[in-house]
């Protein structure tokens, strides 16, 4: 469903089927729509069977990295005598992405069901849903839904009457983009500064509270009940030819586009068709100029590259970018790319956790250089410096925040170099805009 | 026994002083009438010295009249003659400054390393040569005296030829 617009016929609404349907929010409403059948079924299966089913479906993490979910779950060694934890990453803060927000707003029980199945599959009795503090409405909805689910005995000490314990707690974040990184999220949950941890040890060995932990994205877990209900083969079938990328994916579309919103399509959907048909193309009288297809951390595409892309994990990589979290940011020809790249760099400078040197200093420095160029005080040497700094910021830190800052800078300078040069030679922004002060 | 010395016989043309004396006098008279005189009428007239002349020191001051020196300790460290005495201290604003700064100009070999090493461009060797004293003690310049000097300072590098080639 192209929420907030009506569904486009070319969409494949699975997760987004009930977006905009207030009836799906309540436990009863959710049950009427087929909810909690999968959980019931799952609790009757062995955890290993669930993991296998998910492995079989080809479901991959929808948070950005795209790691196969079943494989991730299989890292959790059963019967090691330690408590296991499941964390749900609902700290959706990647600029351009707002799919988890809609899942939690409209179908909170889909997440609770998926999380409960996940927890059971990895041998965890406790599941924490970490929701970013800015999501006031999703927080309210999720809190109410968890309360309802406890009251109905769906989760709790005797989940679905099976005698199995599955606790689900909502944890409210407090404003830190980096807490979307899995180890930072764990630190944050433990009451610490949201600093990413050095790996190894990996979360499956020592994660939350030092115990084996799995962390999954909201969209990933919300897909799990559907897989159990309709079978791995059905899910795997929703792909246009690439067996490595299966199922449906929610893409959040924003920026200068006629119909921004969430669109759910099969993996492998052509990006051109997606942009021009589903999203309604550019605003009247405008042309698309640049597209960031996977949230602000991935390299920027030119329109030509975007139009040649098929929308799956491998398809985006083939075009020099990444699927990421599926947040499609569209800029049209009225926008100054220098300004937007500077603004993105400022975002990362603001959100850097201050641990690694390259990130702490690099994000701030590149921001200042970019803003200087944008104001018309740059030099050609600055561009080389930026590229060199971006190289220093890539692959050298604990987490990938500085890589994320570098990606749009490098791709931006490579693909829109003429705009940078126009700022430098013209000593002002040719678009007449200035970066937000 | 007397020592036998062999006496060389030389022609008169070689042993006569007359020619040489006339030659010398010719030069003298030539200079008497030469318009390009080399003699400097010191002390009325001062010698024009090279910008890279290294003479007695001078401590430069900032706009508030305080010594630029921050007592970093590099000049006594590098001084090959060991003629700089420095005791660091802290002023009322918490800034580092030299409590004692003394240069024994009598021990100084005027290598100019102190000026070269100074990160604050405070101590300089001066373009100056009139520094006679009646006592050795007078050559120990304290901070006050170093700051009171007004002579121009040495240009370590010719700006047109920074590498000195």
């Amino acid at each position: 469903m192209g929420y907030p617009h009506t569904s486009h016929p070319k969409e494949t609404p699975v997760l987004s089927q009930y977006f905009g349907d207030p009836g799906a929010r309540s436990l009863d409403g959710w049950k009427q729509r087929g909810g909690y059948r999968a959980l019931e079924k799952a609790l009757g299966m062995s955890p290993a069977d669930i993991v296998n089913e998910v492995k079989e479906s080809g479901l991959r993490g929808r948070g950005g990295a795209g790691f196969p979910t079943g494989v991730k779950w299989s890292f959790m060694k059963p019967g090691d005598g330690k408590p296991h934890y499941l964390c749900v990453n609902a700290d959706e803060s990647e600029p351009g992405t707002f799919k988890d927000r809609e899942i939690m707003r409209w179908t909170p029980h889909a997440l609770i069901e998926g999380a409960a199945i996940g927890a059971y599959a990895i041998g965890a009795e406790t599941c924490y849903i970490y929701i970013r503090g800015e999501f006031t409405e999703p927080l309210r909805v999720m809190n109410a839904a968890v309360k309802e689910a406890y009251a109905a005995g769906v989760i709790g000490p005797n989940a679905m009457g099976t005698g199995k314990r599955i606790d689900v707690h909502v944890h409210k974040g407090a404003g830190a983009y980096i807490c979307g990184e899995e180890t930072a999220l764990m630190n944050s949950l433990e009451g610490k500064r949201g600093n990413p941890r050095i790996k190894p040890p990996f979360p499956a060995v020592a994660g939350l509270f030092g115990k084996p932990t799995t962390i999954n994205n909201v969209e990933t877990l919300a897909a799990v009940p559907h897989i159990l209900n309709r079978g791995a083969a059905w899910y795997k079938g929703m792909s246009r030819g690439n067996p490595k990328s299966t199922g449906t994916k929610l893409f959040s579309v924003c920026g200068n586009v006629a119909k921004p919103g969430n669109y759910e399509v099969e993996m492998g959907f052509p990006f051109k068709e997606f942009l021009y048909e589903l999203c309604g193309g550019p605003l009247p009288g405008r042309r698309f100029k640049a597209i960031i297809p996977g949230g602000s951390s991935v390299p920027i595409q030119t329109v030509e590259e975007a139009e040649a892309t098929v929308m799956d994990y491998e398809g985006f990589i083939a075009q020099g970018t990444m699927l990421g979290s599926g947040g499609v940011i569209v800029f049209d020809d009225s926008q100054c790319m220098v300004k937007h790249i500077a603004r993105l760099a400022r975002f990362y400078a603001h959100e850097s956790c201050a641990q690694c040197t390259q990130c702490r200093e690099g994000t701030a420095w590149t921001t200042r250089i970019l803003e200087r160029i944008e104001r018309g005080h740059g030099t050609m040497a600055d561009l080389d410096t930026l590229l060199e700094l971006a190289d220093q910021m890539t692959g050298k830190t604990i987490c990938v925040l500085s890589d994320s800052c570098a990606a749009p800078i490098v791709s931006g300078i490579k693909k829109f170099r003429s705009e940078f040069e126009a700022h430098i030679t013209g000593k002002r922004c040719p678009m007449g805009a200035t970066a937000a002060a | 026994m007397a020592i036998q010395v062999k006496v060389l016989d030389r022609p008169l043309a070689q042993t006569s002083y007359v020619r040489a004396m006339l030659k010398g006098m010719a030069i003298t008279f030539k200079h008497l009438v030469d318009p390009h005189k080399k003699t400097v009428q010191y002390p009325e007239q001062k010698w024009d010295i090279s910008p890279r002349w290294r003479g007695t020191h001078r401590m430069l001051t900032d706009e508030n009249g305080k010594a630029k020196c921050v007592a970093c300790g590099l000049c006594p460290q590098i001084c090959p003659a060991n003629c700089i005495k420095l005791v660091p201290g802290e002023d009322e604003e918490g800034n580092r400054y030299p409590l004692v700064y003394e240069i024994d100009e009598f021990r100084c070999i005027f290598c100019g390393y102190c000026q070269e090493v100074c990160p604050e461009e405070a101590i300089h060797v001066g373009r100056h040569y009139e520094n006679a004293e009646y006592s050795r003690a007078g050559f120990v310049y304290d901070l006050e005296r170093l700051m009171a000097q007004t002579h121009p300072v040495c240009e370590m590098w010719d700006p047109a030829d920074p590498k000195g080639e």
Partner: protein
């Protein structure tokens, strides 16, 4: 929804000084203390309840003062310095009193491309705040720019206290402000 900041907190005066004037009254008494006890039951460590505890402080007092940090630290067996380190990491905890209506406007790229800057300007103009982060003279408003609020498709999203308003444009701002009680 509007429960973010209890009215009357604006009497707290300037940053950091409020708690010196009057003796500090603990936040965690009675029902609030019970609420914290319930939260502590969710986690295996006391420290994990830090973020929720700070949220409670902010809900009750409108901001997180040094004294409140010390109180939370004591309840959770932490040191005040540790709590302060955590508080300063997260942007949503106010370390000094803010206006009755705390307005957060998203200006990150996607919203920036859709005119977020004009929305900020409109807020600054119509609330009388003058500059970002400052509280208006009547104590009603504080306007800040924030990084991505996670509603990029509904540009420009604005949060006023706990209320999330989507698709705000500069011309809607005056009307929005008049609707506030």
């Amino acid at each position: 929804m509007g429960g973010g900041h209890a009215p009357g907190d604006t009497s707290h005066g300037d940053r950091g000084h409020a708690h010196h004037d009057a003796p500090y009254e603990p936040v965690f008494v009675g029902a609030v203390k019970d609420e914290l006890t319930e939260i502590l039951g969710r986690y295996p460590t006391k420290m994990a309840a830090l973020l929720p505890a700070l949220w409670i402080v902010q809900r009750e007092r409108g901001w997180v003062s040094d004294s409140a940090m010390a109180e939370v630290a004591q309840l959770l067996d932490l040191t005040p310095a540790y709590v302060k380190g955590v508080v300063t990491f997260y942007t949503m905890y106010h370390q000094h009193p803010v206006g009755k209506y705390f307005v957060q406007v998203c200006t990150t790229s996607p919203c920036g491309a859709c005119g977020a800057e004009k929305v900020v300007e409109a807020f600054l103009k119509h609330t009388g705040c003058g500059e970002l982060g400052a509280t208006s003279p009547d104590g009603r408003y504080t306007v800040i720019e924030v990084e991505c609020l996670g509603a990029c498709g509904f540009a420009t999203p604005v949060m006023i206290n706990e209320e999330f308003i989507e698709s705000v444009t500069a011309d809607k701002v005056p009307e929005l402000l008049t609707q506030l009680p």
